[in-house]
């Protein structure tokens, strides 16, 4: 591992973020100072401007731009909120403090910048991401955390008070929360040769208990449902910086499928951002064909499931034959199965039989 390179990357990233924010402020300052109503342009995030880029294997924004001007009465408030959010983020980042979307919503009130609701303040943060081309985690605004990681990876913190402190991610049997501190930590060393991402907490714990990390030489990541962006970014770093292949295990239904897909190809909501997805990650199960092959106990697909399958069938991210085959199989059998369904064959069956088979199959 080239430690130095990584260390620099974190510091560089912070400087880059601070510079971007300052430049944004400067642009507005100069317009005001020359007696103009300040305005900015940024890529449009409307659905007509979201395209799937097959090369990047993720959604991207097209060339359409929107102009936000302080001269326009309808733009005025969001514009002010945007400048405030930038100033707030700058303060957070330079003081190396973190905050959540909920904090942003409340902090605004201290500046008489009350947001109508959480949604409005979230939108402003997304605007700031779009203007700067950075994700909010870069300027220290994190969502509520629920995902975790476990495995033989040593990291080194960069957050104030913990700088230089190291931690091996096997230290805690419940796993380590993927929060701001871990997100900004450097990777020091690992013996693992793969990453296994798991949708559900129950199975994540089972894997730790069954020593999956040792048996399969793996770093285990709990996505806790749809993976938060910090977790997606973390998985990407494991893949890109440590060259570890990523295998994703979800429930055998359209929703589980899509959890895997968002890790692989990103979401339309994050089309303005890069480096959140891991194009080479693999969805290892539970496939529809696994339900058939392993004779798993199932539930019938309901109407919402069926509708979702039809949507996914048309989605450009699903054009690969494997995905199409699985969608068709789901439709054909009309059933779905959860990861826990393997317990029918005993608690360790999934680790002893299913996991090695699938890791081999999706290698």
């Amino acid at each position: 591992l080239e430690q130095k390179k990584h260390k620099t990357s974190i510091v560089e990233k912070r400087n880059e973020v601070l510079t971007s924010l300052r430049n944004f402020g400067l642009k507005i300052y100069e317009q005001l100072d020359s007696g103009y109503f300040p305005s900015i342009t940024m890529p449009s995030r409307s659905t007509e401007n979201i395209y799937y880029d097959p090369q990047l294997r993720q959604f991207i924004l097209g060339n359409k731009e929107v102009r936000r001007s302080a001269r326009n009465i309808r733009h005025l408030k969001p514009f002010t909120q945007l400048v405030w959010a930038a100033a707030f983020s700058h303060e957070l980042t330079s003081q190396r403090k973190t905050s959540t979307l909920r904090d942003v919503y409340y902090s605004a009130q201290a500046y008489e910048m009350t947001f109508k609701d959480q949604q409005e303040s979230n939108n402003i943060v997304t605007d700031l991401e779009t203007v700067l081309g950075l994700s909010r985690e870069d300027f220290n605004i994190f969502p509520e955390e629920r995902s975790a990681v476990f495995g033989d990876l040593t990291i080194e913190y960069t957050v104030p008070g913990y700088e230089g402190r190291r931690l091996n991610l096997t230290s805690h049997p419940d796993g380590v929360l993927i929060g701001p501190a871990l997100t900004s930590a450097e990777f020091v060393e690992t013996t693992a040769d793969k990453v296994i991402a798991i949708e559900k907490g129950g199975l994540f714990t089972r894997f730790i208990e069954e020593n999956v990390h040792k048996k399969f030489n793996a770093i285990l990541v709990l996505t806790a449902g749809q993976a938060p962006r910090a977790t997606r970014h973390f998985i990407r770093r494991l893949n890109k910086e440590l060259n570890l292949p990523v295998f994703i295990f979800t429930d055998g239904d359209p929703w589980g499928m899509h959890i895997a897909m968002v890790i692989i190809s990103g979401s339309a909501n994050a089309a303005h951002l890069r480096e959140l997805n891991t194009p080479d990650a693999k969805w290892s199960g539970v496939w529809a064909t696994d339900i058939v092959r392993y004779k798993l106990p199932t539930d019938p697909l309901d109407e919402v499931d069926k509708k979702r399958l039809l949507e996914l069938q048309r989605d450009p991210r699903y054009k690969d034959p494997l995905w199409q085959r699985e969608i068709k199989t789901f439709m054909k059998i009309g059933r779905k199965a959860e990861q826990e369904a393997f317990s029918r064959y005993g608690l360790t069956y999934i680790v002893d039989e299913y996991l090695p088979a699938k890791l081999e199959e999706t290698k």
């Binding site: 402020g25 400067l26 507005i28 109503f37 102009r67 001269r71 733009h75 005025l76 408030k77 400048v83």
Partner: protein
């Protein structure tokens, strides 16, 4: 079995049927008494074309029963005064004198204050005191009671004073039983609304608690007084025809028609008699009862009578109506409109309407509606009134008017015969001609308030816009200065000024 028939006098009749005249209960009675006397006083001053000065005092005399009290009512005016020889009859004899001519007048029954005095006497057994002068060297004072059975005044006392100060007017003072507390709201409404349609009058009211309510005139301009007019052929009934026949000096039908009817000349009279198959030389006094009934029907059926003219009407006029509304409501905006004269069933009438926004317009659910007939307020049975029906059936949103706005609507109808629906005379009947006039009038003022509301909306929007920019631009300056790491905050005053000059355009 022998049946006894007894003739009753007019006083007796009204005594037995006092509900008709509005003396239904103690609270209604005190309201009706004040109202009758105030309206007499207004008429007395207007007939001289003098701006009325009216002073009303109601004072507590004692308890009468659990709910009612004895009050003394005193009403003073600066009107024409009553000649001394007429005073006893004018105040002590019901239905004194008769009218064969028509003009717009206030008094609801032609009873004036007599019913009030009668009511006072019935409830307190006290004489009424009348003081009056026509501006001569003498002032006359009478203490009167009414002999109810015989409908005759009884003069209890009579005094004559020297009129050193050339005072002219009438003072009426008498006691009556009533319930002021329950009547108070209506009485105060009555004064306020009377002041609204009589902006040239000074009204003063001192209530039993000694509270003073003063409504001061804002103008000395007064409306043209109504001229007396003959009845229009479409509006006559058998009773009126019989009375005319009794008094006419003419002994042929042609002259009879020409002299006693409104807008009937030589040619019209000839054409009508031909139409009705009546000989022009027939003596009207020789008409049989059947012939009179037939004459009335023919008069109503003949299509060629000219419509009545409105000279017998005395509307308030747009200027005065506006002044009255401004004075009592102090609104942000007011629009008034007077319709051209119209007729229903041979009776001329004029509708005047006004609409007011904001200011002291009382806030309540829906519009505040002020109804007037011949310049007197109508305070009861609002829901049944034709104006209310017209107002409720209009699509106000079309005029940008919404029920939550502080809006008052004034409807005044004046006529020689106001189309009241019931004997209570508190609301106007839904006659198509009247409804149409009110609706057209309201549409006109609605259009005017629409202009006002549109402009107001624009101004409000501009003001709000500017407020918005004044709030946010300095914040943008502050945050961007902080973000850029600069010392000096850019001055946004110039940008705000540019908005003030050109209005904020949408970028």
């Amino acid at each position: 079995v022998a049946q006894t028939f007894e003739e009753i006098s007019a006083s007796d009749f009204f005594y037995r049927n006092r509900d008709i005249a509005g003396f239904t209960n103690p609270s209604r009675a005190i309201f009706a008494a004040i109202r009758e006397l105030v309206e007499n006083s207004l008429d007395a001053a207007e007939s001289l074309r003098v701006p009325p000065d009216i002073y009303v005092r109601l004072s507590f005399e004692g308890e009468a029963s659990k709910e009612t009290q004895i009050y003394k009512l005193r009403v003073e005016d600066n009107g024409i005064g009553v000649p001394p020889r007429h005073i006893p009859s004018a105040f002590g004899q019901v239905l004194f004198g008769s009218k064969y001519k028509l003009k717009q007048q206030r008094g609801t029954f032609g009873l004036g204050g007599k019913m009030a005095i009668l009511y006072g006497q019935i409830t307190t057994h006290q004489p009424a005191c009348i003081i009056s002068s026509t501006g001569t060297t003498k002032i006359y004072m009478y203490k009167l009671m009414i002999d109810i059975q015989r409908n005759r005044p009884i003069i209890m006392d009579r005094k004559i004073f020297l009129n050193k100060e050339q005072w002219r007017g009438t003072i009426v003072e008498f006691s009556l039983e009533g319930d002021y507390l329950r009547a108070m709201t209506k009485i105060l409404d009555y004064f306020k609304q009377t002041a609204m349609v009589n902006p040239y009058a000074n009204l003063t009211f001192v209530d039993p608690k000694g509270r003073l309510y003063k409504f001061t005139r804002v103008t000395t301009e007064m409306p043209e007084p109504p001229r007396e007019t003959l009845p229009h052929p479409y509006g006559v009934d058998v009773e009126l025809l019989q009375r005319l026949i009794q008094v006419t000096p003419h002994n042929n039908m042609l002259e009879f028609l020409k002299k006693h009817f409104h807008r009937v000349g030589e040619i019209t009279a000839q054409k009508f008699l031909e139409f009705a198959g009546i000989s022009p030389s027939k003596n009207p006094k020789k008409l049989s009862h059947e012939e009179i009934v037939r004459l009335m029907h023919m008069l109503k059926r003949f299509r060629e009578f000219l419509p009545p003219d409105a000279s017998c009407l005395s509307p308030l006029g747009e200027e005065l109506l506006k002044a009255g509304i401004m004075k009592e409501l102090k609104p942000e905006f007011v629009a008034v409109h007077q319709r051209k004269p119209a007729t229903y069933a041979g009776h001329p009438f004029i509708v005047e309407v006004g609409i007011a926004y904001g200011g002291e317009v009382p806030k309540k659910e829906g519009f505040v509606i002020y109804r007037f007939a011949n310049r007197i307020p109508l305070l009861y049975d609002e829901a049944s009134d034709v104006s209310v029906k017209v107002i409720n059936s209009m699509n106000w949103r079309r005029y940008k008017v919404t029920p939550d706005m502080p809006i008052a609507i004034v409807v005044h109808i004046c006529s020689t015969k106001v189309p009241y629906k019931t004997v209570g005379k508190e609301f106007i009947a839904d006659r198509p001609e009247v409804r149409r006039e009110i609706a057209n009038g309201l549409r006109e003022v609605a259009r005017q308030i629409q202009h006002f509301l549109t402009r107001k909306e624009h101004v409000d929007r501009e003001r709000k816009k500017l407020g918005f920019f004044s709030k946010y631009l300095p914040k943008i300056a502050q945050f961007s200065t902080q973000l850029a790491g600069k010392e000096k905050t850019p001055n946004v005053e110039k940008l705000l000024r540019s908005l003030r000059r050109f209005g904020a355009e949408e970028a």
